[in-house]
Symmetry: C2
């Protein structure tokens, strides 16, 4: 059996599906590989299907005309991307770029819609995937519009600690430049805020490892925009 | 037959479904009415089901701790809201308030999931609804993070003209205070920008009616952040 296709049973989107349906999914999947830096699709391209990552990470982003970039998501192993046009029947609303060498499975639109039509569990899984993305966007919109950047960073660190199920320290999985873009700022400002939070004894930064020294104060900062410590 | 239930065949989410399935949908629907100003649900509440509007309009919004409000959506007749927890199985990610007296149909989570499990067309319609909301959020995130406020306003006016299928003039369907919140600004700034665009001959404002005098320049402004006119 092929190596990339081996990931199918581990993909959360296909959770709980019986063997014969996993086989049907493997049959329509097309393996696609991209080199680090390669553009997978651009905003406005026709969406002929969506991707699931088997290896590596992908950045989904918008670019303003003066070249400023806003990252919407960073996706990794097992996560789908580019599915909006599959169901809304239009063009990709953002750009996708490989930030590492990546291996993906591509699911052509028509074949996948045919599969989902005969498979309510797959439909419900896909509804859960889209709903979680909507939830994440509401958090991102709140962060962009309502919070100052230190509060955005604190919010992101607490979020990452929950994601990584580690109360005490986290591993930053993206570059600081990418994190700055996600938080709607520039790397220089982000560095100053990291230094400020370190100086206040809230965090300790060792390369990509960040120790949360005072999680309560970080949570206060995330929620109220100020530290209590 | 009951008056509110009469809207079921007109709801885009239920487009193309046969009569017996529309009947099944009517059977699980619960009529709920809310007065203008009433909170329908708050962020963090358990989502026991979602709503479709039969009459009136609803505001979906986030509030920061200092009381600043960010509107995520304004929904009207025929549009669903509050469906994220139905599929992602968690809490409402934002607040919903009736901005007029409204009539809704409420669809309880368990009964609706049961329906969708036996009805692939309904599942695909719901996937399209969520995908369109994701698309709209990517535009809103782009606007918040990448565009200046005049560009955001121009983008909104062009969007509204397309929505209302009228090249020459549009009817503003929300208050200017609400529009300011959507665009991430305050009413005073928005008024100045309306005046600026009027002075430049791009638009003419008569109360809630806005005539697009120079759509090309508005599109340039929306896209490039500057007027060519």
């Amino acid at each position: 059996m092929n190596k990339i296709l081996n990931i199918v049973p581990e993909i959360p989107l296909f959770n709980g599906l019986p063997e014969n349906q996993l086989d049907a999914i493997k049959e329509i999947a097309v393996e696609k590989q991209f080199n680090k830096g390669e553009i997978i699709f651009s905003e406005g391209d026709d969406g002929q299907g969506f991707f699931v990552i088997a290896e590596g990470r992908v950045k989904i982003y918008k670019v303003s005309t003066d070249g400023k970039e806003q990252i919407l998501h960073i996706f990794g192993r097992g996560q789908p991307f580019g599915e909006v046009p599959v169901f809304a029947g239009q063009k990709f609303p953002a750009n996708a770029q490989a930030i590492e060498n990546i291996k993906t499975l591509f699911f052509p639109r028509t074949a996948f819609i045919h599969l989902i039509s005969g498979n309510p569990s797959l439909a419900l899984n896909m509804l859960a995937v889209l709903s979680r993305k909507l939830r994440q966007f509401t958090v991102q919109i709140e962060n962009l519009s309502l919070k100052e950047i230190p509060a955005r960073l604190a919010s992101y660190l607490v979020y990452l600690a929950d994601q990584q199920e580690n109360e005490e320290s986290i591993e930053l999985t993206i570059s600081k430049g990418q994190l700055a873009s996600i938080l709607g700022t520039i790397p220089e400002t982000l560095s100053r805020i990291f230094a400020k939070l370190s100086g206040q004894g809230l965090i300790r930064v060792d390369g990509r490892k960040i120790t949360l020294l005072d999680r309560n104060s970080l949570e206060d900062l995330a929620q109220y925009g100020k530290e209590t410590g």
